[in-house]
Subunit: 222 residues, 2 copies
């Protein structure tokens, strides 16, 4: 044991500090823009320590990606296990995705970058986690179609219609902050809830078959 500084109980381990610092750096700068030196400084360790815990910059990056996509996958699968009508599940699916996007700020930019990169860093286990997300939505849509409440839609198109606005909105937080003086404040102050409402409304409208559109009982005029 000797003179080694002992970690306080409950305090994050060195490995955890590295992971946290790396997530911020990768999210803010992307894989190529992220610098190992900066990650080490942020984590208050030296580079050698970082390479003791992770084989390479790539391995570190993929560890984080896998963790984050795993969380999303678990979040949406929990929605399905919770049951309920297809409409309810679809709504909760969107909310779960939004929840992840807003509570884990590093995730949206990372996802956007991976898309732009053509999946260059997406190792098979990570792709598998993404598949669980799309698969969950596909199952909800299939249920709805079988029950006659959804028309037959392409799950990929629906998925994009849901995920893209949420990621985009969450990721543009910093940009909106940066250019706030150029745009009327009330417009910029759009809250997360507004985009969720928008996506829910848009998605439901796109998957609802014509014969199930809003009924006359809700209409006010001819």
């Amino acid at each position: 044991m000797a003179a080694t500084a002992r970690r306080a109980p409950g305090a994050p381990t060195t490995r955890d500090r590295i992971l946290a610092a790396a997530a911020e750096e990768f999210a803010a700068r992307g894989f190529d823009g992220a610098k190992v030196d900066r990650i080490a400084v942020r984590a208050r360790v030296n580079k050698a320590m970082l390479y003791y815990h992770f084989r390479s910059k790539t391995a570190l990056y993929q560890t984080i990606l896998l963790d984050r996509f795993g969380r999303v996958a678990r979040a949406v699968e929990a929605v399905r296990e919770q049951g309920g009508s297809p409409e309810i599940q679809l709504r909760r699916f969107i909310e779960a995705l939004a929840g992840t996007a807003f509570t884990q700020p590093q995730f949206p930019p990372m996802w956007l970058r991976e898309i732009a990169d053509g999946g260059r860093h997406l190792a098979p286990p990570i792709v598998s986690e993404m598949g669980r997300v799309v698969g969950t939505l596909g199952a909800i849509l299939a249920d709805g179609h079988a029950a006659g409440v959804f028309r037959q839609v392409n799950p990929l198109v629906t998925q994009v219609g849901i995920v893209a606005p949420l990621l985009f909105f969450a990721a543009t937080g910093p940009v909106r902050e940066r250019f706030k003086q150029l745009v009327p404040a009330d417009i910029l102050n759009a809250q997360g809830q507004e985009i969720i409402t928008h996506v829910v409304a848009g998605t439901l409208a796109a998957v609802t078959p014509p014969h199930a559109r809003p009924s006359a009982s809700r209409r006010q005029q001819s």
Copy 2:
């Protein structure tokens, strides 16, 4: 004159070749991932030539960004000049954006990356071009609201709901191609038209006030 190779009439200039090569490299790898050497090779010039035409890697990147955002801005402003009802203009706005995204494949990944980067490379003139896009949509929405056919919506939220899915879908082309063996072919074969239809339907539903929802004349049952 001497022994200098003369450019064939109509053939792209050296500068143009550099710009084209750089656009591909930046789109595929991002600013930090893009390498000046690779751009030079792709453009069939040497590095010194590249630095003769452009002050720096950053200057080259921003030249391309400004050009691309300028094209989008002109495309959507043309929609507005064309006139028509707010609904028509909104639809054409979406189609114009989609057209740009699909015909200029480098643009969607570049836009996604800039979002993820928090606008680190967005010089004021580029921001100004983006403003023209949002401004155009804002005007269409305001017209519609004044005419009573749209409810009052946050233009930024609507903008995100339109732009994000289109960019995302266009940018995921390569990823979908890459993992085509993991997903049923018919799902992957979603065409651009499907996402446009989805976005149009979703957006119109989100901006349409309750009293103007699909009328009973279109409904088939109680």
